[in-house]
Amino acid sequence: MDLHFGDSKPTDDERAAVDALLGPPESSWEGADRSDADLRWARGGRAARDRRDLLLPGLHALSDRVGWISEGGLDYLCRRLTVPPAEAYGVATFYAMFSLRPRPATVLHVCTDLACTAAGAADLCAGVEAGLGPGVSVQRGPCLGLCERAPAALAVRAGDPVRTAVSAPATVREAVLAATAPDSAPEEPPAATAVPQAGDPGLVLLGRVGLVDPSSLDDYRAHGGYTALRRAFELGPAGVIREVTDSGLVGRGGAAFPTGRKWQATASQPDHPHYLVCNADESEPGTFKDRVLLEGDPYALVEAMTIAAYATGAHQGYVYLRGEYPRALRRLEHAIAQARARGFLGDDVLGQGHAFDIEIRRGAGAYICGEETALFNSIEGYRGEPRSKPPFPVEKGLFGKPTVENNVETLVNVLPILTMGAPAYAAIGTGKSTGPKLFCVSGSVDRPGVYELPFGATLGEVLELAGVRPGLRAVLLGGAAGGFVRPDELDIPLTFEGTREAGTTLGSGVVMAFDDSVPLPRLLLRIAEFFRDESCGQCVPCRVGTVRQEEALHRIVERTGAAAADDIALLREVGRALRDASICGLGQTAWNAVESAIDRLGAYA
């Protein structure tokens, strides 16, 4: 491609960061010194254009090394990957974690989302800003997925290697320490501390968390690891799909699509290759179960993905992991490397003739990338904008090929399905919602964390387990895209059909309890702000509608009754168009929580 580059040159650090990812450039056309041979023969074309998917890793490499992405660095990356600089600029500016302007090498991300706000994030922000000099950039941001330890902060210091430190629950002193000396910040508590039920022998999905050494493949195997994969090889791909179908497993990301049907649809596509994508871009405010699973039992995901790939005929899998999960990244990277070294991934998994490997792709701060097709675009090196459906991913997904995409929790459920058999699994839960379910409980409870309960447990039971505090004002189900319910609705059964009947949603399993400490209009404003920030901007209803929603909520933040009536009518009209006419789930659900607060909780009444 005839690309246009400016005069800016990469620094040595930037060049080294990119070369560490891509290897040294092969010719002067890609940025090496000019040689006589280059001036006689140049390769290019398809091979050169086909590496676009390394753009996002390349942006991470630059950002990790120097803290921001300079013009020279971006140009060098573009030259290496044959990507037009304007497009790379469009991609880089899409993600909240990247800066295209100079900034300090250390960035402290402070969560100001619902759970953290309720736990005093505002004071934390003010404190760290006062306590930190100009050497650290403090960024307020959406949920960091540490709600069980709110308020939370994440420090990232660029360098070789990049260093990170999590401070949660954060005090001003601890957050400042994490930002100024990430290397000497105290180690995070083990993943099991986020699982109050840890050690309970009845746990199906969380059973190994806290029990196994998350770094040890052998320990994993000693605790039942890889028996499911062996069973899968016995059943054959069609047999695995039949088991999964019979188990009644449906997607845990919120859409509740039958997993067996999705696998079958992908497996039967004549176009090849097939891809498997694990959606670990857990960004719904209030959700942190994937983090806990990946930190506490990473091999389970590796094994489950291997089974899914075997069943659907995929030889390459991707885990799209949200960028704010440094420890989960380290543990999963280690697990994949171990599995590869021991023949559990690679050309001939378990000597059974099936080739499969996994690559991790890090998100970079974009809620929208949790949408399945936006995630494909993000992996492919494009802006994380959702695609129009149809065609659906099972037909044209990643790189335009048949793709099965499941989230972490869904995949991990495949292991018990195979080890206990579909009938036993289907016996858990209710008739329509089978199996165990993970709930992320946070907010006004004594024991926040991830809870595993069979489908059908009531909201009240979950809250009781977590030790709900007195003065409960509202419960948010399903996160920002979900809905509020009243304290007198605790008998709602937590199943897909039960929540639907009650006019609310289960979503991804967020259960966030609120007392009176934060006024409801403030929470709604934070939710509206979240959607405004996270809208990709592609379609008009969402791009402008989320702004108009936030503006209206601002106007009525201190109003009630007749003074708010006009704006509430306006919100309803805009909300209806958001729900009906937006391209993807983000816009379609952006009005849910606000609507439920007005209708169910009587906000602004």
Binding site: P84, P85, S388, E534, G537, V540, P541, E573, I583
Partner: protein
């Protein structure tokens, strides 16, 4: 050997459009069917030379069985589909989309939009005087193009025309996110520092006048632009042997704009800098 170019014949499929059975060739979109049936479904981001982007959502219709409304421009017709184009639900979303757009950008040079605003009874003012707008000054950084962001509805057509669908220059992209998203060159630099080759193919597809020829922009500013006094004559470019068809827009015997027919087999509506702008020499009359 004598052949008449027809292409491979396409099968017809049948579906129900507003209660009427219609037959369209396989591969047609719902919008194609609507237009064939003489229905006026509004569109903004749809372009006859571009793949549907379905970003503006003003063409939404109701399809039986679909949870949400469906963009007519990109949804392929399927046999047995039940489509309704003029329901209260579809009209509501169109109205809101028009209100959202008209309250955030300047639609004064967007063709047909005034009529739709009237038809759908859209009231963009109701978001109040403080409703966020783009509110940017036109960027005039070269002698050929003007980029007037205040008119940009982010329909992506310019990006697609500059990108892999036609020009493959990739000078522009969408940058940023959400309401702050903008069409920009790398580093949001002036056009003159970018990969732009000034083919004008982005302007050709811009539905709102956010991108315009400087000649038109200047005449509009001076109040002399008058399309009723313009003639359009299609001829052939003289700058190389490819034979691109040029439509010369002439006002008072001056060429004021050059386009190309979108169905032309040579150009498909595209031109290069010479064909698009290289006309001035014939009117250096004194």
């Amino acid at each position: 050997m004598t052949v008449t170019p027809l292409g491979i014949p396409r099968r017809l499929l049948e579906f129900t459009l507003d209660g009427q059975e219609v037959r369209v060739p396989e591969g047609s979109t719902v919008l194609d069917a609507c237009r064939a049936a003489g229905k006026d479904v509004p569109t903004l981001c749809q372009g006859d030379t571009l793949r549907p982007k379905n970003a503006c959502r003003v063409c939404v219709v109701e399809v039986e069985g679909s949870r949400t409304l469906v963009p007519a421009c990109s949804r392929r017709a399927e046999p047995g589909m039940l489509v309704r184009t003029d329901t209260e639900r579809a009209r509501h979303s169109r109205k809101i989309v028009l209100e959202l757009l008209a309250s955030s950008v300047d639609l004064s040079t967007t063709e047909r939009v005034a009529g739709w605003i009237k038809e759908y009874e859209a009231k963009p003012d109701r978001f109040g005087p403080d409703a966020a707008r783009l509110g940017e000054e036109p960027r005039v950084d070269n002698d050929l193009y003007v980029r007037d962001y205040d008119k940009c509805i982010l329909c992506y057509k310019c990006v697609d025309a500059c990108g892999d669908q036609w020009q493959n220059t990739f000078a522009i992209s969408v940058s940023g996110r959400g309401f702050d998203a903008r069409i920009a060159v790398e580093q949001d630099a002036p056009l003159t520092d970018s990969a732009c080759v000034y083919c004008g193919n982005c302007i050709e597809v811009c539905p709102t006048g956010a991108l315009s020829f400087k000649s038109e922009f200047d005449m509009r500013a001076a109040g002399t632009w008058d399309e009723t006094k313009q003639t359009e004559t299609t001829t052939v470019c003289a700058y190389c042997g490819v034979g691109c068809n040029l439509t010369l827009h002439v006002q008072d015997n001056e060429i004021v704009k050059v386009t190309s027919p979108h169905d032309n087999p040579v150009t498909h509506g595209n031109l290069c800098i010479k064909g698009r702008f290289g006309y001035q020499h014939v009117q250096n009359r004194d």
